[in-house]
Symmetry: C2
């Protein structure tokens, strides 16, 4: 029969077993951390009615949507986890308890041109807190503290959560009389890191028709740097000219103060007036997170406060705050930068149980069953192969312990356990072997996913 060459589509991440284990560990850390903060897991369909999913319509994203007919249905694959959340909350409003905290880790689809580190199918890992009509500012401080916990638990130290407040920006542009052009101005300011202040000024003046002295004011404003206290003090000088600005400054001050209470160290957190987040959607605190040694990667965790989650589906005002980690891209970057920790165990088992001959099969099964009952991941090697092939199997997979069971071991009801890393072998009772493996397991628990 003619064979079809097996392949996986470009732009779709499919990992070999060892890196998949690393990915699983990262996902598990996210699930655990999000759960510790009282977020409930959700799982919404990957396929939605295209009308519902694209209620917002238009924009860059629409071209990238996977949209297709099946029978009479106009279907689309979700392109983020926010629109499905909006649908879910609007649809189940009466059955949910607010503030509603949910996390979702799931695949989303965007038909971007595949390129290095860009995926068409990728995981997002989102948390959101949705209020019913109102939502306290404290939530806007808790969110970055969760980002801090998440990345810290993954093993990252040199990262920075950058925080701003859209009301400060909107208020500032109001003071300058630039409210109408504010979207364009913010988009231009967002290019500061890439093109520098001179080019930003040129675009402001030449393309957006901002008066030269006003453009200078904009540049002065976004040039405000320093410690969080210094930046906040510098902002005091703009007070009293715009209610929106004043409200934003009050919120940002509160968020900064709470963050200390949440135990987020000053070095992992910076008030940064250049952060705007493109979307109109955000109305208060906004976040970006950068890996300090790899600023070229851009933000690995972004989000912010919004006033109206589900305006397309319901009249109910549903303010919220949330963040999203682009997990597939993050994993690609960590791998690419050699930041995935090699010390993380990637073997499918802790113990390979090897009966020395067919006679010990029964004893081997009984030993494997007891190991599993003790919570030890165990493989039973039953193939008819040479002894060396059996050892090689364990070594290739990185299984740390082999357990050899021969006639003598069975008679004496003991096991010969070999530490394949150290090459040391001892013959002990099964319960002692269990203790050895459990000690190993305890040590590996603490190994972080990421190294710097």
């Amino acid at each position: 029969m003619a064979k079809l060459k097996p392949r996986t589509l470009a732009g779709f991440m499919e990992l070999l077993p060892a890196p998949q284990q690393q990915m699983e560990r990262i996902m598990q850390t996210l699930r655990e951390t999000y759960s510790l903060y009282g977020f409930t897991p959700l799982d919404t369909p990957i396929i939605e009615d295209a009308q519902i999913l694209l209620a917002k319509g238009g924009g860059e994203t629409e071209k990238q949507i996977y949209r297709f007919q099946k029978g009479d249905s106009d279907l689309a694959l979700r392109f983020d986890l926010t629109v499905p959340l909006a649908k879910y909350v609007a649809m189940n409003y009466g059955q949910l308890t607010f503030p509603f905290r949910r996390y979702q880790i799931g695949k989303v689809y965007r038909g971007e041109r595949p390129q290095r580190g860009r995926y068409r199918e990728f995981y997002q890992a989102d948390i959101d807190i949705i209020g019913d009509g109102k939502l306290d500012i404290a939530n806007e401080a808790e969110i970055p503290s969760i980002i801090y916990q998440t990345f810290s638990r993954l093993g990252l130290k040199r990262f920075q959560i950058r925080v701003n407040n859209r009301k400060i920006l909107n208020g500032f542009y109001e003071i300058l009389g630039l409210t109408e052009q504010s979207q364009e101005v913010m988009r231009t300011v967002d290019k500061l890191d890439k093109i520098g202040p001179k080019a930003v000024r040129d675009i402001l003046v030449d393309d957006i028709a901002v008066a030269p002295e006003t453009a200078d004011e904009v540049l002065n404003f976004i040039a405000i740097k320093g410690t969080n206290t210094e930046v906040l003090s510098a902002l005091e000088s703009y007070k009293g000219k715009s209610a929106t600005f004043d409200k934003g400054l009050e919120e940002l001050t509160t968020v900064t103060r709470y963050l200390a209470a949440f135990g987020v160290p000053e070095e992992n957190f910076a008030v940064d007036l250049t952060i705007a987040r493109g979307l109109d959607y955000y109305t208060g605190t906004v976040y970006e997170t950068v890996i300090l040694d790899h600023p070229e990667v851009g933000s690995v965790c972004s989000g912010g406060r919004y006033d109206n989650l589900a305006g397309y589906y319901t009249d109910k005002p549903l303010p919220g705050v949330g963040i999203s980690i682009g997990l597939t891209r993050l994993f690609f970057v960590l791998n690419d930068q050699k930041m995935l920790n090699d010390a993380v165990p990637t073997a499918p088992a802790e113990v390979l149980v090897v009966p020395m001959s067919a006679e010990q099969q029964g004893y081997a099964i009984s030993v494997a069953t007891q190991l599993r009952a003790s919570g030890i991941r165990t493989q039973l090697y039953t193939e008819q192969k040479k002894f060396k092939a059996k050892i090689n199997y364990a070594v290739k997979l990185g299984i740390p312990y082999a357990m050899f069971l021969g006639e003598t071991e069975e008679q004496e009801q003991v096991v010969a356990i070999k530490d394949l890393g150290k090459g040391e072998q001892v013959t002990v009772k099964l319960e002692d072997a269990v203790a050895i493996v459990k000690e190993y397991l305890e040590k590996t628990k603490e190994i972080p996913s990421i190294v710097e």
Copy 2:
């Protein structure tokens, strides 16, 4: 603005937070159990090249496939996890270590007509062991022992794994000279439970042109019942007439013997000669699993031994054995039959931390941070609401403990912790409160997902 009525497509399961927590617990049990047996997790794309996915082509399934164009690409959503596994193993053959054991829990798509309990998007939870050229029979006994463990850990007791061997069936039909009609005969025999022996005989004789005395032989054969030992003894009488039959009987006898060694009780396991599994694909041991009190549900976990996993993609012989749990359907059935255990905690947190006024916000944040550091899922309630609304929030979500922090508590560095189930409140040091919650957590760990 006109609102769009939010809806989820028919045939797509989307759960409210409490049942979602039950689903998560079941998935976690599957992941843990599969891992204990040395299976490594895989995650393949949901979208594949349609040519690759449909290499096998034809059949009932093809009509149900979600297939669509995106740009120049002919794409399809996976309809099971076996074809993607075949692709993966063929593609990564040189980088995998055999026997290759993988589990995958993932969504698959079939455009069936939506009806009660049938889903278009549903989870499958698969395990497979793939050999390189050969695979020992012991694996065929280990697989049902994993099914046994999985369902036992979920809390199910009254279930039965039914086992047969395709070589026995093929050999038997060879003995009767029915090899060419064997597919049709097996399909008819499969209806035995629904239509009874008389109707089966009629179809065999009238529609498939089986000689009446041969039809009687078939009915006698599938009427063989009894304990596993009795069934195996009855089969001895057919020995010596077909090498295929003899091989099948030897395999089934070995599997039965090993199963006892794996600790599977006789009541959860039956040799059943009516089990055939429709697909041509299977060549040895085949499995079905029924919930004894709900036989109408059909098999909740099926699979078997196959000789050629990836014949469409590679010349390499890749024999294997695997099973699949239709998780979404299983969840539907369990819910429908009131077999999901109400006692499983579905709250998003163990503790709701409630500062009595804004002054205690800082203390509340510090307490919540310490609870989380102890591994206790904690929500901080910061909304400006009446005391009763705060309590109601915890009660509605089923959060078992509320912690009240007022001026006195802060001054004395203690917490007032209330068991919302019992209504009892004590004021203690935080470490003692942690101990109370941890004790609760230990107890809930053992609660099974399923009750009978």
